[in-house]
């Protein structure tokens, strides 16, 4: 999954590449919308609508940053529209505004949160195989002991993998994958 392919999919409405747009953004946008509307079915519908809108629109994006921002902004706006429309949810909307002050800053912080998570989540794929397995299993909710048993490695190795992987997910930036592999073999 690289940026050029995503931009091509969006700008040229490339049907074959369009699936990669989902791999790149879908979970993050649904999660982002879900935080706002508090209902996963609605969140998914909103995101589907936005992607359909993009698919049918003529708008072109020059940079990934532009596309990413656009998608978050569109998701945020749609979620707010939905919340305002939904009477039953007005309580929640009131709370959202009240607790967090002006809407704009809240959006910024939540967008940073989601974008951090999105990048880290995609990075799981680039972890070395054994670390990747450990992370996937701990994401599924398995305990360190269970993972050790399943993979036939020691509990301490699992712990080290887990710690190191999360650290890498946080700190390594996509693009320096090569440096990261080297660092792994040296350590």
């Amino acid at each position: 999954m690289d940026a050029g392919r995503i931009l091509k999919a969006v700008n040229e409405k490339d049907k074959e590449l369009w699936q990669e747009v989902f791999g790149y953004y879908y979970a993050a946008l649904c999660s982002y919308a879900g935080r706002l509307v508090q209902e996963s079915v609605i969140a998914e519908d909103l995101v589907q609508d936005i992607l359909l809108y993009v698919w049918n629109s003529e708008r072109k994006f020059v940079q990934m940053e532009e596309l990413t921002n656009y998608l978050y902004r569109a998701t945020y706006n749609r979620a707010m529209m939905w919340l305002r429309r939904e009477k039953c949810k007005s309580k929640h909307l009131g709370r959202l505004m009240e607790e967090n002050g002006p809407e704009f800053d809240e959006m910024f912080i939540e967008t940073v949160r989601e974008e951090l998570l999105r990048q880290m989540y995609l990075y799981i794929e680039e972890l070395p195989p054994e670390q990747r397995k450990v992370i996937r299993m701990s994401v599924e909710g398995l305990s360190v002991n269970e993972i050790a048993e399943k993979l036939g490695i020691s509990v301490n190795t699992v712990k080290t993998h887990k710690k190191r992987s999360f650290k890498q997910l946080r700190g390594k930036i996509k693009g320096d994958a090569n440096i990261f592999w080297l660092a792994f073999f040296l350590s």
């Binding site: 989902f22 879908y26 993050a28 508090q38 998914e44 359909l52 921002n69 940073v112 701990s138 930036i173």
Partner: protein, 384 residues
């Protein structure tokens, strides 16, 4: 946006990786002056927080999202027969790692399992097809099955229905998913409704829904996220009540010691006693209890988190009686509960526990805070 999300994200990640320049360090320092940014920074630095967030992400499978999207593209006149063909081919090839066992095989499997120490539940279930055949579903592995009116895919703890060719089935064909004690399983119905079945529960549902309504039958406990469809109302029937759904997320539990409980998290549902027309409309945050003996329904405001904690891998007890707590643990760990003195049943207990923990740890926590002695043998919890 005056501040750039991308820039901020890059700075924070560099900061986690310890590769900030002196100037950038100042910039990050300024960012972290904001209290909410500081909280975010701390949360992202916590492994367990990330694991939990990623778990949420895993619920939004891009492949499923894309499949749904393709349907919408098609509606707008963009036919893509080539893609459909290749998907069909890969469905055929994916057959394999889930075991098909005859009834006898299942029994042997069951016996083997009981020899182990008491473990928390996991993903396992039985799926009864319209032909009457029972399929054993395990936690891992993938399997595709073909039913009248639709296809079934079983993949890592989840059953997914799709009905490609028959949008309006003439006859309803039913399947039943049964989750034994000590298990849990997820299900995605043909209309896109997601169901999470808890231990000791059973759901009967049509492979493809009728044109006029969607109706399923529940015994036990399940979490529903009902796909919106204004033209086809969704009903959940239990022995005691009927629930009419208007597009929504809620939890139904017929296991309750005294009453059957329905909790609404979002959306709107109406609940009525079996065989009665009078409907109680529920608002989010409400609990409807239907007394097992009198059949009376009453509504009250509750903290919904407690009722839906199970689907997030937690037990959340809040002034619950020991009887209620041990009943629930018993279903999850598949053990019987025996009280030597009835007086202990009503002692109340609050706490937050992990569902996938060893049961001894959980019982130990109860003993520690209440002083009640609890023994556990192979398949029995004994309260002294």
């Amino acid at each position: 946006m005056d501040k750039s999300v991308e820039r901020t994200v890059a700075l924070l990640r560099k900061s986690y990786g310890g590769s900030l320049t002196a100037d950038e360090q100042v910039e990050v320092g300024r960012l972290l002056e904001d209290k909410r940014m500081r909280r975010l920074y701390e949360e992202m630095g916590n492994d367990e927080y990330l694991a939990a967030e990623f778990r949420r992400y895993a619920g939004w499978e891009p492949e499923r999202g894309y499949r749904k999207f393709r349907g919408k593209m098609r509606k707008r006149g963009m036919r893509r027969s080539l893609v459909r063909l290749s998907v069909a081919a890969s469905l055929l090839m994916a057959l394999g790692t889930v075991w098909l066992l005859a009834e006898q095989g299942e029994l042997e499997e069951g016996r083997k399992m009981t020899q182990f120490v008491v473990k928390p539940g996991n993903c396992r279930a039985f799926l009864q097809l319209s032909s009457g055949k029972r399929v054993v579903l395990e936690e891992a592995g993938q399997l595709d099955l073909y039913e009248t009116n639709g296809n079934i895919r079983i993949d890592s703890g989840k059953v997914v229905y799709s009905n490609p060719a028959v949008p309006e089935p003439e006859t309803e064909v039913y399947n039943t998913l049964s989750v034994p004690y000590g298990g849990e399983y997820r299900l995605l119905l043909a209309d896109g409704t997601a169901v999470h079945l808890n231990a000791g529960s059973e759901l009967r549902y049509p492979v493809a829904f009728a044109v006029t309504e969607r109706r399923v039958f529940l015994k036990g406990e399940a979490w529903f996220e009902v796909a919106k469809d204004a033209e086809r109302p969704f009903y959940v029937e239990t022995d005691e009540v009927n629930i009419r759904v208007y597009g929504t997320a809620f939890n139904v539990n017929t296991h309750g010691v005294r009453a059957m409980e329905t909790v609404l998290v979002s959306g709107e549902i109406g609940i009525s006693r079996a065989g009665s027309d009078r409907e109680w409309r529920m608002c989010p945050g409400q609990l409807a209890s239907c007394d097992h003996r009198s059949g009376e329904i009453s509504l009250q405001e509750v903290d919904v988190r407690k009722y839906v904690a199970w689907k997030n891998g937690e037990f959340c007890f809040n002034d619950d009686t020991l009887e209620e707590i041990l009943e629930e643990l018993g279903r999850w760990y598949d053990v019987k509960v025996v009280f030597r003195s009835a007086g202990k049943k009503d002692i109340q207990f609050s706490g937050h526990l992990k569902r996938y923990e060893n049961i001894r740890k959980i019982l130990g926590a109860i003993t520690e805070s209440t002083g009640i002695v609890i023994h556990i043998s192979e398949r029995t919890i004994m309260v002294e």
